[in-house]
Symmetry: C2
C-alpha cells in the first residue's frame, strides 16, 4: 500500500479541491492510502483508506518560507512533510506556498547525501502534447555547473520511471544553439554535460523552441528557470486575455466566439501545465510534489497520481543509487 | 541635416525592404540624408538626399560576428559603421547579423569612455500599446551589478529624449517583487539601484508582468534578457500558430475565422515589437540601431525614424555627459 501525505490547506481553493481530488484518487486507485493533514472539522470525506491527522496551524502564501517552517510546527504542511521523514508515508503533496514546501523538503525531510542542491522540476506543455521537464524552477537561484549536472541526472531517472521514456534527451537552456553560446555558467555546464555518459545530452536549446518539444528534459539555473516559466505564463495569459476581449468586442466577433468557444478552450487547456501534474522537488530524501496553487480537483488528482507513480517506482532509492554512488 | 548610414544587405528581405523603408523615410523627413552602403547595382533608388557607397562584401547570418567584422573590411555593415566612426554620418541602421552589428559597434565605432559594457536595448510591446524598454538583450552575457546600473542610466536618458517620458521608471527583472529576491547578481544590483539618485528605480519586476507595463525600462543581464525575449517570442508565435490551426480545422471554425480575421490580425500586430523601431546598442560612441531581421518596410522605416530622433536629440553627447562625468 502506497501512503501519501496530503496538506489539506495548501492552494487557492483549498480544502475544497484537495478533498475532491482525493476522492477521485481513492476511487481510481486501490493501492493507495491518504494521510490527510489539516483541521479535522474542514474534512468532509470518510473513506477506509483515508486517515485524518488533525493539525492546528496553516502556512499562508504570505508567510516567509523558512521562518514559517521553523515556527509553525503544527502546520498541516510541516506535519505532512514530517510523516515522510518518519517513513510513515511515502510522499507528500501540497498546493500551498512553494517556498515553504521547498523549505519543508530541505529542513524537515532533508537532502539526499551527495546531492549538493535541490531543484524544483516542472513538466511544461508542448505543442505536440508530450510536455517536457524544466528544472530548476527556482529552488536554487545561484547554481554551479555541477549542480546542473546533478539536475540532469535526477531528471533523467525520474523521466525514465515516471514517463517511461527509456533514454530521455537532455538539453541545456541557452541563448543560442551553438556549442560556445551563453554566459559563463552555461558554457561551463555545457562542457560538463558533454562529458557525462550517464545522460543523453543533446546540446543547447533556445527558449523559443521549448514549446516545440526541443528535449525531454531542459536544465538551467533556478533564476533562469523561474524567469522562463513566468515569461511563458505571462505571455500566454495576456494573449488569451486579449483574445477574449477581441472576441467580446462586437456582435460580429461574439457570433464567431460562439462558433469556436469549445476549440479555443481546448487550445487554452493545451497551455495548462497542471494537466501534467505538479512540480517535483528533486534532491530531498522523499517524494515531494507541489501542485499548482490554482489547481482544480483534476490537477490535484494528477499531482497525487504522480506521487503514487514515483513511490511505486521507488524513484528516491534509484536517485540515491545512481546519482550518489556511481 | 541628419546623416544616417544604412546597411543595404542586412535582414531576411534585404535589399528590398531596406530600399522601400528608405523611400518612405526620405519622403517623410526633409532634414535627413541617407548614406547607403552596399552593392550599387542592387540599388534602384535615386534621390538627391541619397548617397550610394559601393561595397563588395556582405556579412551573412551564418558569419561568426567578430571574425566577420575583422576579415570582411569592405562589407556593407562594416563600411556603414566606419562612416559613424569617421563622423561622416550620425547613425548606422542595419537589419543584419545582430552579433556582427554589436561587434561593429564595439570594434569599429568603439565604446564610450567610462562605459564598461555595451547593452542591446529593445522596446517590447505591452497590452496598453505603450511598450517598454528591456535591456540587455544579449550584448553582454556575464554582467556585473555596476553594468546594470549603467544600463539603467543610459536607458533613462534615451527614454527621456526618444520617448519624451520625463522621469522614466526603472525596474529590475527578477523572480519575485520582494526586495531580497533573486540570485546574487539581482540582489547586489537591487542594492546599487536603490542608492542611485539619478534614476527613478521602482524595484523588482516579475517577468510575468512585463506585458502589463510594469515599468518604462526593465534592466537585466544579457543572458536573462535574451532568454526573456526568446521565451516571449516563442510563446506568442506558438499560440498564434495553434490558433490558426484551430481556426482552419473545420467549416464551422472557418466561418468564425472569416468574421474575426481583421481583429485577430490587429491582436497579432499588438505583439509585433518592430512597430516600436529597432534595438539600440548602448555604450558605443555613435548611434547604432538594429532593425529586426524579418523587418518589413514599415519596421525598417521605424528604425530609421528612431535613428533620426536619437541624432536630433544628440543622445550620445548626453550619455557621455550624464553617465560618465557625474
Amino acid at each position: 500500500m502506497i501512503k501519501i501525505a496530503v496538506d489539506m490547506h495548501g492552494g487557492d481553493n483549498a480544502p475544497d479541491i484537495v478533498l475532491d481530488g482525493i476522492e477521485m484518487f481513492l476511487k481510481e486507485f486501490n493501492d493507495v492510502e491518504i494521510h490527510l493533514y489539516g483541521d479535522e472539522k474542514d474534512n468532509r470525506l470518510n473513506h477506509p483508506r483515508l486517515k485524518m491527522h488533525h493539525t492546528t496551524q496553516v502556512i499562508t502564501m504570505e508567510d516567509e518560507p523558512v521562518r514559517a517552517i521553523r515556527r509553525k510546527k503544527d502546520a498541516s504542511m510541516v506535519r505532512a512533510a514530517e510523516s515522510v521523514k518518519l517513513k510513515e508515508t511515502d510522499a507528500v503533496v501540497s498546493a500551498g506556498n512553494t517556498g515553504a514546501l521547498m523549505a519543508a523538503g530541505l529542513f524537515v525531510i532533508g537532502r539526499i547525501k551527495g546531492i549538493e542542491r535541490p531543484a524544483l522540476a516542472l513538466t511544461l506543455p508542448t505543442i505536440n502534447d508530450e510536455g517536457f521537464m524544466l528544472l530548476d524552477m527556482g529552488a536554487n537561484a545561484d547554481a554551479k555547473p555541477e549542480h546542473l549536472v546533478q539536475y540532469a541526472k535526477m531528471a533523467s531517472i525520474y523521466t525514465q520511471k515516471n514517463r517511461g521514456i527509456s533514454n530521455p534527451s537532455v538539453g541545456l537552456a541557452n541563448i543560442g544553439t551553438e556549442d560556445k553560446k551563453g554566459n559563463q555558467l552555461a558554457r561551463d555546464t555545457f562542457n560538463l554535460l558533454k562529458e557525462e555518459t550517464s545522460i543523453n545530452f543533446i546540446g543547447n536549446v533556445e527558449s523559443k523552441a521549448l514549446l516545440n518539444y526541443a528535449a525531454d528534459i531542459v536544465v538551467t539555473d533556478g533564476f533562469t528557470g523561474n524567469m522562463i516559466l513566468k515569461t511563458l505564463e505571462g505571455t500566454a495569459n495576456n494573449i488569451f486575455k486579449m483574445l477574449k476581449e477581441t472576441l467580446l468586442a462586437s456582435t460580429k466577433t461574439k457570433i464567431a466566439a460562439g462558433l469556436i468557444k469549445k476549440d479555443l478552450m481546448q487550445l487554452k487547456n493545451k497551455m495548462d501545465y497542471s494537466e501534467y501534474g505538479g512540480a517535483v522537488l528533486f534532491g530531498v530524501d522523499g517524494i515531494v510534489i507541489k501542485a499548482h496553487g490554482s489547481s482544480d480537483k483534476k490537477a490535484f488528482f494528477n499531482a497525487l497520481k504522480q506521487a503514487r507513480q514515483s513511490a511505486t517506482e521507488d524513484v528516491i532509492s534509484l536517485l540515491k543509487q545512481e546519482v550518489t554512488h556511481e
